[in-house]
């Protein structure tokens, strides 16, 4: 029995390799355009505005509690959930586009390059994990649950903190 499992694994692997060896298909143009329309522009510093509106529960509460329209409240919440998922997926797509950007001029210092490479990988993984978790929470519980941890408790190295602060500063300057 175990032989068949391993043989099956080997055959599946070889089929998978042959399928994956085919040239990567370019993305569907319509899909790319649609994603771009939703994609947040971090550089201008105003990308949080839309998210604030999407994730703000006050108008849904106002409909349900003050005006006593529970059905409308539900409909609004479902609509907001769809928007929130769309927004998070667009954010992820926008980030993936950044991650897929190739380097134009390789650095001459391999040691510094290696340290920066691990640091960038950490930032990439952190972002991917947090966005995936946020998506999961929004899909399961809706857009108004505050269940996404900040991960601020993760001890960051001094250098990494400095980089993030510099980036934040550059971001605020760029938005002015």
């Amino acid at each position: 029995m175990i032989t068949f499992i391993y043989a099956g694994l080997a055959i599946t692997f070889l089929v998978l390799v042959l399928c994956l060896m085919r040239k990567a298909q370019p993305r569907d143009t319509d899909e790319a355009v649609e994603e771009k329309a939703y994609a947040p522009h971090i550089g201008n510093g105003r990308w949080l505005d839309l998210s604030e509106r999407i994730f703000d529960p006050s108008d849904a509460r106002w409909l349900g509690e003050e005006l006593a329209f529970p059905k409308l409240e539900q409909a609004l919440m479902q609509d907001r959930q769809r928007l929130a998922i769309r927004w998070l997926e667009a954010l992820q797509a926008s980030f993936d586009e950044l991650v897929r950007t190739p380097e134009i001029a390789p650095s001459n210092d391999p040691e510094a390059d290696s340290a920066d490479g691990w640091q960038m990988l950490w930032l990439t993984m952190r972002f991917k994990v947090l966005v995936s978790y946020a998506l999961l929470v929004v899909k399961v519980f809706g857009p108004y649950h505050r269940l996404v941890p900040s991960f601020a408790w993760v001890p960051l190295s001094q250098r990494r903190r400095q980089t993030i602060r510099q980036a934040a500063l550059a971001g605020s300057r760029g938005s002015d």
Partner: protein
């Protein structure tokens, strides 16, 4: 049978020699240092084995098993080389391949490979079990690398694609072959299945030799991203900015 084994072995040595010669000729040695150290190990190790076989046949068996065990470990360098090259052009993911290789290999070594060595009572099943599980680990690493490369729509380039294809053929045959040996016993392996892995390895060497005949760097720039290209430092800052803004958003 003896002649078949020798023919396969000599074909392997010739192909490894050609691959090394080409690497010197087209200066690809610097581009794929780990891979060619492995090919060097195969080339000189096989010649040494033949020398031991001719001059001291009694020592051959133990020398062969030593070479076999070291090969299993040294083969991981091919994975490291492949993983380094897949994401070479993307600064944000440059170490992702190596991280995947190290993490998967480390976890499976602890939870999947080590138990078979510790709990086997006899040496031959332990050796075959170790070889099988190490091969499965390599298959998993390679499959994950393929999938991640596909996820990011990366163009692998002729050299890396050839390395991956060759290694996949060898590992796929090896896993099926070793699984049959573990199940049906060491005697069957000695009688019938022993030549399957060497044939697969020779085929793998053939694919590698063709793939690395000329250096063909992986395409970058406009093919990978619509943005074109970016400085590594700019990418780092942009990543930090994304993370910073996401943290702010999550803390709200």
């Amino acid at each position: 049978m003896k002649i078949l084994g020798m023919v396969i072995g000599i074909c392997g040595i010739v192909l490894a020699g050609i691959a090394l010669f080409r690497a010197f000729a087209n200066k690809s040695l610097k581009q794929f240092p780990l891979f060619f150290s492995y090919i060097g190990y195969v080339f000189f190790g096989s010649i040494l084995l033949y020398a031991v076989y001719w001059f001291d046949s009694q020592a051959y068996r133990s020398t062969y098993w030593l070479y076999f065990l070291i090969s299993i470990l040294v083969e991981f360098t091919v994975l490291v080389e492949i993983s380094d090259h897949i994401f070479k052009n993307l600064p944000a993911l440059r170490h992702l391949g190596r991280a995947i290789t190290i993490v998967i290999s480390g976890v499976l070594a602890l939870l999947y490979i080590l138990p078979v060595i510790i709990w086997s009572t006899r040496r031959p099943p332990a050796l075959l079990g170790f070889a099988l599980r190490a091969s499965v680990t390599k298959v998993i690493v390679l499959a994950v690398l393929f999938l991640v490369a596909r996820h990011y729509r990366l163009e692998l380039g002729k050299n890396v694609a050839g390395l991956m294809l060759g290694f996949s053929i060898y590992l796929g045959v090896n896993v099926a072959n070793l699984a049959a040996s573990v199940t049906y016993g060491f005697a069957l392996y000695n009688k019938m299945l022993w030549f399957m892995s060497p044939i697969a390895f020779t085929l793998c060497l053939f694919v590698w030799t063709i793939a690395l005949w000329n250096l063909a760097p992986a395409p970058n720039g406009s093919i990978v991203s619509s943005v074109g290209g970016r400085n590594s430092k700019d990418t780092a800052l942009e990543l930090a900015r994304f993370n910073n803004e996401l943290s702010k958003f999550l803390e709200k």
